[in-house]
Symmetry: C2
Subunit: 413 residues, 2 copies
Amino acid sequence: MLAEIITIGDEILIGQIVDSNSAFIGKELNKIGIDVYQITSIQDDKQHILNALEEAKNRVDIVLITGGLGPTKDDITKHTICKFFDDTLVQDDKVLQHIEAIFAKYIQTPVTDINRMQALVPSTSVVLMNQYGTAPGMWFDKDETVFVSMPGVPFEMKNLMNDEVLPRLQERFDRPFIVHKTVLTYGVGESAIAKKIEQWEDNLPSFIKLAYLPNLGRVRLRLSARGTDEKLLLDTIEERIIGLKALIGDIIVGYEETESIEVLIGKILTSNGHFLAVAESCTGGKIAQSITSYPGTSSFFKGGAVTYATQSKSDLLGVPKETIEKFTVTSKEVAEAMALGVKSKFKSDYSIATTGNAGPTKGDGDVEVGTVFIAVATPERVFSEKFVFSNHRERTIGKAVNKSFELLLKELS
Amino acid sequence: MLAEIITIGDEILIGQIVDSNSAFIGKELNKIGIDVYQITSIQDDKQHILNALEEAKNRVDIVLITGGLGPTKDDITKHTICKFFDDTLVQDDKVLQHIEAIFAKYIQTPVTDINRMQALVPSTSVVLMNQYGTAPGMWFDKDETVFVSMPGVPFEMKNLMNDEVLPRLQERFDRPFIVHKTVLTYGVGESAIAKKIEQWEDNLPSFIKLAYLPNLGRVRLRLSARGTDEKLLLDTIEERIIGLKALIGDIIVGYEETESIEVLIGKILTSNGHFLAVAESCTGGKIAQSITSYPGTSSFFKGGAVTYATQSKSDLLGVPKETIEKFTVTSKEVAEAMALGVKSKFKSDYSIATTGNAGPTKGDGDVEVGTVFIAVATPERVFSEKFVFSNHRERTIGKAVNKSFELLLKELS
């Protein structure tokens, strides 16, 4: 059972937005055993849309289309899809009522003719109601291939997928099982891992594939199994992971998707009744933001201080001015004082602190661009390490955040 | 002059990573007048890669490939590309020396055979040295089409694009001019804008296209012009934007890419010698992180407090306990006290504060999920507004961040 995702929009091709819709759709299809064969992003151009639909029809069983269903003139997708199915547009009264209700409740201006046109749908389509927006989804059957068109607004598309599209696909198609397990490792490079597990990898059964996914100081190892016997897949993967642990257990910190490192840290802290606080200079709030992007954070996270200006490190966290003068603001001593200060101010049990220079130019401190000191305070002690990550701002910040979580997790485990 | 981007990797198709490489490449090609016709993401599968290369060759003049050039076994791209060009792999001594140098300087372990194999390249390719990694880029000419293969690690790919690929493409191809200007608006919906500017839009010349890009309370309007006379394109766009300002000048807050709202705020504050601090509860550090993701932040940003736990709002920001008890933690009064507190603690001139409940469950406060109070303090006053954004955590946080910047910018302008 193969699917293709077609995302429509000039803004994707000129790089003004990153196509995150495809990743969401790919992940959800995969969970129900549908394999995405290809993702195709194309311009808002009639002929190009027609070509892409025709080519996809020859490649796959399911074609999911996003984008180009908004109320404004640059959207030609609906008319083109209608032409592809040799169909005509008709008004759907239920959609029109829904549009009028949305305007009355949230927008509080009269419904425009432009919005009323969103109630027009191809006569042969099954309308999928979009609870969160004015553009409906549309489901078509053509010569054994299913086509689904959804709006490109991520929030609306996600709800349509969950509420309408996925249940219908599950009902309509027989699907094999696909099982993934991703092993999260920290601190050792891709090729060094490959060398350590070479023999283990060579002995994997043919229905299991291994992929290496390196990113800013961590490597994820993804095992994917496919077959008709779900139990066999799950058992085989578990058994192989026991073998993997014997080889590289010291660098394995967790398993995705169920456990990102932030969630893993949260679980350990919560189960011990402990709390965390963070003090950030060069990471600028990204550690706090990474933690709070997951729900349920309040059971272990007190909060944090983004002490970007040197003075605020003393004012907010009580870092002694003499420590800053003696060792400079980007130093082991200041990082540790920040960690202790934030732990005390927030009355937490653990804390993380960062101070460094992400660049592109030298700041208040005097250290090389890319230098970051990371301190961790526990109920018993405080320690810190110096890193020189890179001369690229975004990369240095990302690496510092990952390394902070790694250092804390090591203390917790 | 048309290009296609092919990104290779199962991790893209199963949604484990979002393909941000394509957006970067699309943006850079666009700047030099090369139009991306299609982005195609495919599996790590030999036949699929061969098909995609062949199809792209029939569609476009330039094919840029990323992914599948790492050191480990799951990478089959290089061998497949070699087969596509009926070529054989030969060792490139310069690449081998580069790999050895990287290992000696950064990795400090012996070079493995796996890494040594990265110095093998198709004999007819032009090697593009990858300064930041061990996998080289490769440039091929076949029947008037240029193919370039690059590693999938974003950092390495970006540097190869900037240092090697873009200069060569500029030298090799005659290109038309493409000019974009994106108008950033806040506070009014897509269809209401469309109605206001309908006549203006109808009168745009045929070489200018308009696109609406709505996202969490802001709508970007992108004008794209294409032609051989760059001055004419620039002048026409400027002239049309004057007309647009006359219609919706009150909701235009800036122009991209040069000016994101964070950069715009930073410019105004810096030029006035003023500083900002932020106090975040439900936004969890995302306001600070959005500001500090741009360089040069220290000239206007003092820092912030992520007072996630109720107690920390009093301990860190001096919000009176009685205010919290009387009005609850999610209230206008607490938001304003947080704004004044953070302004005082950080000795800033302006501040933003957020308190609310992003969900998914009710927290310490007692308000509806999605409710956020945003306060702004200026040298003269403090004020706040209540919003009910949505019942989705990520969306509520995103909308609250955008709305915070909008409220501050209005005060600054």
